[in-house]
């Protein structure tokens, strides 16, 4: 092997290592600061206290209000994106004619390209007033429902596009076998193709959930900044990501306990998305159907 080959090989290895070191660096920083945080705040309080007021004189460090905010907006987003996304996926893969599919699929994916700050203002300035005009004034200007719905629209292409890929990849002979046994198109789609593509579909849903949990701009703009342990979607709440933004933008002194809270919240987010990604990996392996 000549020198040139060796240099190129080392260069490629270096590129691969950069990503690993970046990840390790992020985890390292998170862990060091979180360690500092938990040397002052008990982890039991962090996980069980129902109030989150670290910036005030009466400091409470319960993550639950932020967690409930994140879970609430994510659930709303999933409730919008999954049924809609799966219906679209099945329609495009099983019913639509190929020309239509070739136009609509990229068009749907454009939704994923809209900057999230635009979605945020769309939620705040359009969806919330619209919901207020329909359901009356019980809905606060900052609330969970409107950014939740908009976040659902944002993750919709993730669900529909990846699920459609999975459905489309199911071998033709399964469809034909189903038709040969006298199934209708509807029965074939839901009872044969859908289960066959389940691993791909579940991965798409979990990726969409991870995306919704980590989404920052939409909820920071439209959901409010008030940590509140509630599942009422009509009142202002605060998600974990919004809190991190709020503190990063404020004048909190470095290395104070207030500053470290953002790392504690950050690692919580990291743990959740890490677990979800592993779950999707497991589901993929567990339910993957292998066809020759």
């Amino acid at each position: 092997m000549n020198l040139k080959e060796k240099i190129i090989e080392k260069l490629l290895l270096f590129c691969a290592l950069v990503t690993i070191f970046t990840t390790a660096g992020i985890i390292g920083v998170l862990l060091i600061q979180t360690f500092g945080f938990f040397s002052e705040v008990s982890i039991i309080d962090f996980l069980t206290d129902t109030e989150w007021t670290p910036l005030f004189s009466n400091k409470r460090f319960g993550i639950l209000p932020l967690l409930s905010g994140t879970i609430l907006t994510t659930l709303i987003a999933v409730a919008v994106a999954v049924p809609l996304g799966l219906t679209i996926a099945i329609y495009l893969s099983e019913y639509a004619n190929p020309t239509f599919r070739n136009y609509v699929k990229p068009a749907l994916e454009v939704l994923a390209a809209v900057p999230t700050v635009v979605y945020g203002f769309f939620a705040l300035e359009f969806v919330t007033p619209l919901l207020q005009s329909i359901f009356g004034s019980g809905l606060a200007g900052f609330n969970a429902i409107s950014p939740g719905i908009v976040m659902g629209i944002m993750i919709l292409p993730l669900v529909s596009s990846l699920s459609e890929d999975a459905l489309y990849a199911v071998p033709k002979n399964l469809r034909e076998g189903s038709y040969a046994l006298g199934s209708t198109k509807y029965q074939t789609a839901w009872k044969v193709i859908f289960p066959a593509a389940f691993s791909g579909i579940s991965v798409s849903v979990i990726l969409a959930i991870s995306r919704a949990i980590g989404e920052t701009m939409i909820v920071a703009i439209a959901a409010g900044q008030q940590p509140r342990l509630t599942f009422d979607p009509t009142v202002p709440i605060e998600t974990m990501t919004t809190y991190i933004v709020q503190v990063s933008m404020g004048d909190v002194p470095h290395n104070s306990i207030e500053y470290r809270t953002i790392f504690a919240v950050g690692i919580m987010l990291f743990v959740i998305t890490f677990l979800l990604n592993n779950l999707s990996f497991y589901l993929k392996k567990r339910y993957q159907e292998v066809y020759q």
Partner: protein, 329 residues
């Protein structure tokens, strides 16, 4: 921010350091975080015209600023309250003379959604009940504040903990700076608060009066009653007038800069302070405070020129009912 040129002919008549001659040197400022935005805005504008002067503005609080002034470490102290008698005594002891210049009024507005028809006024006691730390998680409905108000949730919006507005509001209402409940929408960004209150029928919020004036149409201003009839009977609505004459209490106060008299001899400090007075009227509004009015800034200019030393405000029992003109003359 728009570049403000010095007002009229003042600049040319009052000193020999007109725009044509280049002023060099350093101006050291420290003190209140509330006054900081005004001084910083003035410093920025000043630097456009006088790029050779280095203006440094620190934020160590009003008390910290006075301490540094007493040690002659700075030329100008920013202060969100008048100098105390104790601080004056220390300055006298060190034989330091100073010039007191009120530069703006700080007023806070208490607001609700325009769709809120039941709140006609609030007393300081009621505000204290709402915002004190003990209220956290307990005072959550309007009818807990006044029984005749509806049995509906109250959604609170207020300044974030890093802002001077938060310190001032908690001190004036709860009685101790930084002492507040934590379960409300707290933001350093006043636009978030305006947005929140204007779109939420159950909202109650507070922020700088100037932000209310900029968003009059989408907010409802609430008069505040401090139950003290000597400074105006009943509930008083904040306005430029009630803030200026001190009847809107306790949520309005004058803001000051204190200049070391011997520093005024330095051309850099002198031209900076003069620039401050000449441009304060516009700049204080930009940062959300109430201006003293053109005529009062003219009086300040005289004060600086005569080098009038000492404090007129320290002698006052309170800021209530003050007439700025009378004090400045």
């Amino acid at each position: 921010m728009a570049a403000c040129s010095p007002k009229g002919g003042d600049q040319n008549t009052n000193s020999n350091d007109s725009n044509t001659s280049v002023v060099e040197g350093e101006v050291l400022i420290d003190g209140s975080s509330t006054v900081y935005p005004v001084t910083e805005a003035v410093a920025e504008e000043f630097n456009i015209e006088n790029p050779k002067v280095k203006v440094t503005v620190g934020v160590s609080g009003t008390g910290g600023g006075f301490k540094k002034l007493i040690r002659k470490e700075i030329d100008v102290a920013n202060a969100s309250r008048p100098i105390s008698k104790d601080e004056i005594a220390q300055l006298n002891e060190a034989k330091i003379e100073f010039i007191e210049l009120p530069v703006a009024f700080d007023g806070l507005a208490v607001v609700v959604n325009p769709g809120n028809t039941f709140v006609d006024y609030l007393t300081v006691e009621e505000l204290k009940m709402i915002w004190s730390p003990e209220a956290q998680g307990k005072i959550t409905k309007w009818n807990q504040i006044r029984a005749s108000w509806p049995d509906k949730e109250i959604h609170l919006f207020g300044a974030g903990t890093a802002s001077g507005t938060f310190d001032y509001f908690t001190e004036a209402i709860v009685g101790k700076a930084k002492s507040s409940r934590g379960d409300y929408t707290a933001s350093e960004d006043d636009n978030v608060l305006v947005q929140g209150v204007s779109t939420d029928p159950l909202a109650l919020g507070f922020f700088g009066l100037e932000y209310y004036l900029q968003n009059k149409d989408i907010l409802k201003l609430i008069p505040v009653d401090d139950k003290n009839d000597t400074n105006g009977k009943g509930a008083i609505l904040p306005s430029e007038e009630t803030v200026k004459n001190g009847t809107y209490q306790p949520l309005s106060r004058p803001l000051f800069i204190y200049v070391l008299k011997e520093s005024v001899a330095k051309p850099a400090v002198k031209s900076f302070v003069q620039f401050y007075i000449d441009n304060a009227a516009d700049l204080v509004k930009d940062v959300g405070y109430v201006s003293l009015g053109e005529s009062n800034y003219k009086l300040l200019s005289d004060r600086l020129k005569n080098g009038k030393s000492g404090s007129a405000f320290a002698e006052l029992e309170s800021n209530v009912g003050i007439k700025m003109e009378d004090i400045l003359k």
